[in-house]
């Protein structure tokens, strides 16, 4: 029986502006996804373009390198997702241990900075730093007695280079969310643990982490939705024919196709495919979290 329907009305009303906005600006345009099933020609528009059903999807799957591209995309994206949880959580916990407020804030600000640089700029810098002959990273590696590594030019290293450099750029952003989560943990819990004689480490494991867990699960779930987005801008600015094998992702390939002709149908089909996969994964995560932890992610 619906509890106190009168109490509920304000809640429903509060949702109206948001619902109206997404109805107009998300759902109505969403109808255009029909382009994914059309041989879309701009001059014909949406209503005049020929319906070709699943042809775009068939084309994608039949591409000579499709499995390679798909693998690259998922592999790189997955590594980014995992790194994107582990690194910021760790850094947030470490930052939490800094007693001096001013210092903590300074570090927080500084680690956030790389997020603002675009890959267009960063790629130039990265190519120099990682250069096998003149780059500082390899100079260090050589000092340590190893051979220099061609980070951006070798298929063995390229994906990892992508993940690490991307993490370096983005971790400051997610760290903020985890710091906010830490700030929300009841201080009384820590005091009680202290009284019980728990070490800082024990406190971290038994209070901080569990306290952050809902947010961690949330962020993980949301980022799983990105499993097909391996990061076009980064890859595009850093790759080259030498590393197509390990570095060419769905988006960069579709981009190159777009150079020949405005392939909106194919691009939309690719986008649709990505969305479906994301939806599936997020639903599964949501369901699992609900079933086994009785936790509604959202």
């Amino acid at each position: 029986m619906i509890k106190n329907w009168r109490m509920q009305i304000p809640l429903h009303l509060m949702l109206i502006p948001g619902l109206a906005a997404i109805l107009i600006f998300s759902y109505i345009p969403m109808a255009g996804v029909v382009i994914a099933f059309q041989k879309f020609v701009p001059i014909k528009g949406i209503f005049g373009s020929e319906w070709i059903g699943l042809d775009h999807f068939r084309y994608m799957v039949q591409l000579p390198n499709f499995s390679q591209i798909l693998w690259n995309t998922v592999f790189i994206a997955s590594m980014k997702i995992v790194a994107g949880i582990i690194v910021p959580v760790t850094i947030a916990l470490l930052l939490n241990e800094i007693r001096r407020e001013g210092y903590k804030r300074m570090i927080q600000t500084l680690i956030y900075l790389p997020y603002f640089l675009s890959w267009v700029i960063l790629s130039g810098i990265l190519i120099d730093i990682l250069s096998p002959s003149r780059g500082i990273v390899n100079q260090l590696i050589q000092l340590l007695g190893f051979d220099s590594i061609f980070f951006l030019g070798s298929n063995d290293w390229f994906p990892y280079t992508l993940v690490i450099s991307n993490e370096w750029k983005e971790f400051g952003f997610s760290t903020i969310v985890y710091l906010a989560a830490l700030a929300g943990i009841n201080p009384a819990l820590y005091e009680a643990a202290l009284v019980d004689g728990a070490s800082r480490w024990k406190q971290t494991v038994h209070i901080s982490l569990p306290g952050m867990m809902p947010i961690i699960v949330l962020m993980a779930t949301l980022s799983i939705g990105n499993i097909m987005n391996a990061g076009f801008e980064q890859v595009f600015n850093l790759y080259g024919p030498a590393v197509y094998e390990s570095g060419d992702i769905i988006d960069t390939f579709v981009y190159r196709i777009g150079l020949e002709e405005a392939q909106y149908g194919l691009a939309t089909a690719v986008g649709l495919l990505k969305s479906v996969v994301s939806l599936f994964l997020i639903s599964v995560s949501y369901f699992l979290a609900y079933r086994f932890a009785n936790y509604r992610i959202f």
Binding site: M14, P17, P64, P241, A242, I257, E261
Partner: protein
């Protein structure tokens, strides 16, 4: 209760505000902010406004719509803009034409914006499209037949200009006998797109090396530059032959190198039986690739070339690390200029591309027109676009403003009014012609008769000769031994060759060319780096044919 009402009020206020704003700005839809100077032109002048020939005036005035791509180089004087400048005044006052820009976008996103605009039904009276877009529009019957219009309304100079490449570009825009687009011939098009070799002349002297007359010379020079410390700074920090990751474009290209072996990557050629074949899979490519892989193995080519685009190559040039590379005619003006700024003692020379036995090479040329001006079917004044082209040529090239400077040329503050014109069709060889005129004038020591742009270069060269070192960049391009002297040589000997296939992309081309190109670039890069044996080239050729190459070749031959 009060809170609930407040919430409701707030929400509805927000929505109303948003909607109200849209209503107000609705009238602005599609227009740009700057109002046209003077009286707004009458609503399309009415169908009573006609002209009979080139450069006539429309009375009453008419309005035509178009869209524009601009870029960072577009600078304006105070109060002027793309909608209000010297051209718009001329159009209005002298010819009764008002050109309205439906939208203006940065060049980099022009294609996107254009396609989206077309998809939404916003099609201007005339616009610039590429071959594929032209094909699509013509298939839908959306374009005016420009053949008769060009005949009746095109000025003599315009017609002459459009045929400077023997009608290749016009051909590309002709479908089923109808001319559907006026090619946008480009300044520096045609023969000026041929590649050449840039060398550090002072390094050649330091090491007592010959000038590059054959491929072996090039290899000798490259090897010496890489190994023998040509800049004599006791550091092993120089490269041999410059090579960028894209292989066949911009500075650090090896397209010219391949041409020396009669190999023509990414281009269609006629074989002995007159059929079209693709250059990238011909056996001559193998020979050239083998040479490059040897050079790489010997350390003559930078090991890191695979991550360097032409910008990085330019850095190497500027920093005295690279003294030998193939490039294009305009490289000197910015790439080598940077090196000269850093190192005033550096000397650069330019040479035509070479072959193994020293015989003349046929350089590969880019299409003379990649873009075309088209007119929407049913536009009220379809000939207006051609008129505008006439006006551009008339006022920019054909009128002498002496003793005043030409008001359309680029000024010291970066303002270049010539570029504001909506229908830019320039003579292909304007720079080459200017080069020739300048050389004549220099010989006579008299540049007073020169028009634009020759006069600009003449002045710069004279200033340099008088000691103004800032003008060095002009000599590397327009000087007697500059890059244009190489183009001049190619042109005088009719050496350049064009892509034998000038049409729009065929169906299989659209589907498969990107994959094939990826495969090609990957294979070539691997072969050069020694990660794959040269025999992989043959494997590549077979695969290429199977993966769609044969299909494309068939379609291409069908179209021609």
């Amino acid at each position: 209760m009060k809170q609930k009402k407040k919430a409701l009020a707030a929400a509805s206020l927000l929505l109303t505000a948003a909607l109200a704003m849209t209503a107000c700005s609705g009238s602005n839809n599609g227009g740009t902010n700057a109002p046209p100077s003077g009286e707004p032109a009458g609503q399309n002048g009415g169908s009573t406004s006609t002209v009979t020939g080139p450069l006539d005036k429309y009375d009453p005035p008419i309005e035509v719509t178009t869209v524009r791509a601009v870029n960072q180089a577009f600078k304006y004087d105070e109060g002027k803009s793309i909608d209000n400048n010297i051209w718009t005044d001329i159009f209005k006052e002298q010819y009764g034409i008002h050109v309205k820009n439906l939208w203006v976008v940065d060049e980099s996103q022009y294609r996107q914006k254009l396609n989206i605009s077309i998809a939404s039904g916003d099609i201007p009276d005339f616009m610039v499209v590429n071959k594929e877009e032209l094909l699509r529009l013509s298939e839908e019957g959306q374009l005016e037949d420009l053949g008769p219009l060009l005949e009746q309304y095109g000025s003599d100079y315009l017609k002459e200009l459009l045929n400077q490449d023997n009608g290749t570009a016009l051909n590309a825009a002709t479908y089923e006998g109808k001319l559907l687009g006026i090619p946008q011939m480009q300044v520096n098009g045609g023969v000026s797109t041929a590649e050449m070799i840039y060398v550090r002349a002072d390094w050649l002297r330091n090491l007592n090396l010959p000038e590059p007359k054959t491929i072996d010379d090039v290899i000798k020079i490259a090897t010496a530059f890489a190994k023998d410390d040509p800049d004599q700074n006791n550091k092993n920090d120089t490269y041999g032959l410059g090579l960028n990751k894209d292989l066949f474009q911009a500075h650090g290209t090896v397209k010219g190198f391949f041409n020396g072996f009669n190999a023509y990557p990414d281009m269609w050629l006629k074989d002995d039986s007159g059929n079209l074949v693709y250059g990238s899979i011909q056996p001559e490519m193998k020979t050239a690739l083998e040479k490059l892989s040897e050079l790489y193995k010997q350390g003559v080519i930078d090991r890191e070339f695979t991550v360097k685009d032409w910008n990085k190559i330019a850095e190497d040039v500027a920093a005295n690390r690279l003294g030998l590379a193939y490039g294009t005619v305009s490289d000197g003006g910015h790439i080598h200029k940077a090196n000269k700024d850093n190192n005033p003692d550096a000397e650069w020379k330019v040479y035509p591309i070479v072959s193994p036995d020293g015989s003349a090479v046929h350089p590969q040329l880019s299409d003379t027109a990649n873009n075309f001006f088209v007119v929407k079917k049913g536009a009220k004044h379809p000939e207006a676009m051609i008129q505008l082209a006439n006006i551009y040529l008339e006022h920019y090239y054909l009128t002498s403003y002496a003793p005043e400077p030409n008001p359309f040329i680029s000024k010291a503050n970066g303002v270049f009014p010539g570029k504001y014109h909506p229908v830019l069709i320039d003579p292909l060889n304007v720079n080459l012609d200017a080069f020739r005129q300048v050389q004549d004038a220099l010989a006579k020591q008299d540049g007073s008769q020169l028009g634009f742009p020759a006069s600009v270069h003449y002045d710069r060269l004279t200033q340099y000769a008088a000691g103004d070192k800032e003008m060095w960049f002009s000599t590397i391009v327009f000087g007697a031994e500059g890059s244009y002297s190489v183009i001049d040589y190619y042109d005088n000997n009719n050496l350049g060759i064009y892509n034998a296939f000038q049409g729009a992309a065929t169906p299989t081309m659209s589907e498969k060319m990107a994959s094939l190109k990826k495969y090609q670039d990957e294979t070539f890069t691997k072969i050069i780096m020694g990660e794959a044996p040269i025999s992989d080239f043959d494997k590549f050729v077979n695969e290429w044919k199977k993966l769609g190459g044969d299909q494309i070749t068939a379609e291409v031959n069908e179209r021609s």
